[in-house]
């Protein structure tokens, strides 16, 4: 191979990225010297307690605000602080509360169509049909096009948000607590959809959540954040069977579980944690 780097080149790279906020004269280091790669097709989970910097990482990846230091690369090229349209198309966001990102006065169809119009995707005349297809791809009827966001349930809205991320045909989707506001039955269906879409379309996810039991079942690798720092980054299996960092063990040890096998796994990790303490 003449260009071996091409094969292994990560889709997304963060290199020594930091973010400092100043509020009321006080400096908060929300993200502190963080580096990681996201491979094409993987689902990298970012976990940590509230305030650990997860959403700040998401916002920097999306270019909602620039990092204070460090570099972010997409497919090997540096992402500028001010993103061009092409960058905005390349990385999509699905948030916890999709209502905040759907215009309440616009129909679901109009919101989806806007994404196609802005990025000039497909023939103008075919776009309305495309909107219907997109809805069907996320398990909603095409005639939801004419509905207002307020008439949809939480799970249905989250499907619309996913459809919009698909509309731009981007490879990289950042999901920030996408199922945290959903009931467990609805969550299961949305997670299943996300897993299927990733497999079928070769999508790459940065999946942010505080819920470790979700992570275990969707992620290929897990990045653990504590107070803005990346303390552990391992394959999912390793994180749940042999976590290296005490903080990771503490996080898993606190997850409320529903089966005896889970309680046993948790107990085992806590034992190690106490032994090393």
């Amino acid at each position: 191979m003449r260009e071996p780097s091409r094969v292994t080149r990560p889709l997304l790279s963060l290199r020594s990225v930091s973010k400092t906020f100043t509020t009321a004269g006080r400096m908060v280091r929300a993200v502190d010297d963080v580096s990681f790669d996201v491979a094409k097709g993987e689902c990298l989970a970012i976990v940590g307690e509230s305030g650990s910097g997860k959403s700040t990482v998401a916002h920097m990846i999306l270019g909602i605000y620039p990092q204070s230091a460090g570099e972010i690369l997409l497919d090997g090229s540096l992402l500028p602080a001010r993103r061009a349209l092409i960058h905005r198309r390349a990385i999509q966001l699905v948030q916890q509360n999709p209502l905040s990102s759907l215009n309440p006065k616009r129909s679901i169809g109009a919101s989806l169509r806007l994404a196609l119009d802005v990025h000039g995707i497909g023939e103008r005349s075919a776009r309305w049909d495309r909107v219907g297809q997109l809805l069907e791809e996320v398990g909603l009827p095409a005639d939801f096009r004419s509905r207002a966001p307020s008439t949809l349930s939480g799970g249905q809205r989250q499907r619309v948000a996913i459809a919009r991320a698909l509309a731009c045909q981007s490879e990289l989707v950042v999901l920030d607590e996408p199922t945290s506001a959903l009931d467990v039955l609805v969550q299961a269906r949305v997670l299943k959809l996300l897993n299927e879409l990733r497999a079928q379309r070769g999508l790459t996810y940065v999946f942010i959540t505080h819920d470790l039991s979700v992570v275990r079942n969707v992620a290929t690798r897990v990045a653990v954040f504590e107070k803005g720092r990346l303390v552990e980054l391992s394959p999912t299996e390793t994180v749940f069977t042999n976590p290296k960092h005490p903080y990771t063990r503490r996080l898993i040890g606190a997850v409320p579980v529903v089966t005896a096998q889970e309680a046993e796994l948790r107990g085992r990790l806590m034992e190690k944690s106490n032994a090393s303490a």
Binding site: E49, S50, G155, D183, V184, L185, V186, Q187, A188, R189, L191, K192, N195, H210, D211, L212, S213, V214, R216, N217, V218, E237, F240, R250, L251, I252, G253, A254, V255, P256, V257, V258, T259, Q261, E262, L265, R266
Partner: protein
């Protein structure tokens, strides 16, 4: 046998709206024995919080609400109490903890002032000095290491976990016989949530306080409750001891709910219906775990 701390029989609730009557509770029955920890678990909108609010006597006075059925607290029919008598029970014989500790504390008063208020309800005329002494002891009980500092703080100066402990201390300060905890700690991080649950369990056990524990989180319920009721769209669908229900759920809805919880041991995301006719199947009662005075 003495009367259970809480007895609810065939409780129905509807709300009048422009579109007609919205039926929210379709005749639910449950009871909590003295000192027992009982969970009411179900998805959002299933009727958990309204049930709690009826027990607290907060819904009966709403003009839009139509309530029927029996609610007995320590053998007394709530419907036969005056508004004043019901009010007198709240914060003394029965108390509550809500989901978000920071917003259920008053932001403009110090913890000391709010604690004094709480203690006045149980001990009218209690002096500030005496209230402070009891507050220090109560905060000490919830493992707050600097009670004096906390008492002189405002809620916003404390962390979410600290406020949650303060809430627990206040809720137990008048030695209630029933504590209603509506999704406690849901707004907190799991590590803090786990600590506060352990704390709540220890304290209620020590004081023999009965608990109505409301949650949508099966894992949390498993760790807290002796017995549980599963509610689906205003109907109890299964009831029994916690361990038995988790080991061998029998109602289609309970099964689905349990199956849907992702496991930290892996196994992927199962295919489950989020709505199904089967979820309306009749109530499943474990032998020996029916309602008092009823077959089953």
């Amino acid at each position: 046998m003495s009367a259970p701390t809480l007895l609810i029989r065939d409780l129905k609730l509807g709300f009048r709206s422009y579109a007609g009557m919205l039926e929210v509770l379709h005749g639910i029955s449950l009871h909590i024995a003295k000192g027992e920890r009982v969970a009411l678990v179900g998805e959002s909108g299933s009727g958990k919080s309204v049930t709690a609010r009826i027990v607290l006597g907060l819904i009966q006075s709403l003009r839009s609400a139509r309530v029927s059925g029996l609610v007995e607290f320590e053998g007394r029919d709530l419907a036969k109490l005056s508004e004043r008598e019901r009010h007198a029970l709240r914060g003394t014989r029965m108390s509550m903890i809500f989901q978000d500790p920071t917003s259920s504390l008053n932001p403009v008063y110090t913890i000391a002032t709010q604690f004094h208020e709480v203690l006045l309800r149980g001990s009218p005329g209690i002096s500030q000095a005496e209230a402070r002494r009891r507050a220090v002891a109560a905060l000490d009980d919830v493992a707050i290491s600097e009670p004096e500092r906390v008492l002189d703080s405002y809620p916003f100066q404390l962390s979410g976990g600290m406020n949650q402990r303060v809430m627990i201390a206040m809720a137990l300060a008048n030695e209630p016989s029933l504590l209603i905890a509506d999704e406690p700690g849901t707004a907190l991080d799991v590590t803090v949530q786990a600590q506060t649950l352990t704390l709540m369990r220890d304290l209620t056990e020590r004081h023999h306080t009965a608990v109505l524990f409301i949650s949508h989180n099966l894992g949390v319920v498993r760790e807290f409750a002796d017995r549980l009721y599963v509610i689906y769209k205003g109907r109890i669908v299964e009831q029994g001891p916690t361990a038995a229900l988790f080991d061998d759920p029998r109602h289609p809805y309970t099964r689905a709910l349990l199956q849907a919880v992702p496991r930290i041991t892996g196994g992927g995301i199962p295919e489950i219906e989020d709505a199904s006719e089967a979820y309306f199947a009749p109530l499943v009662v474990r032998e020996g775990f029916g309602e008092p005075g009823r077959a089953g």
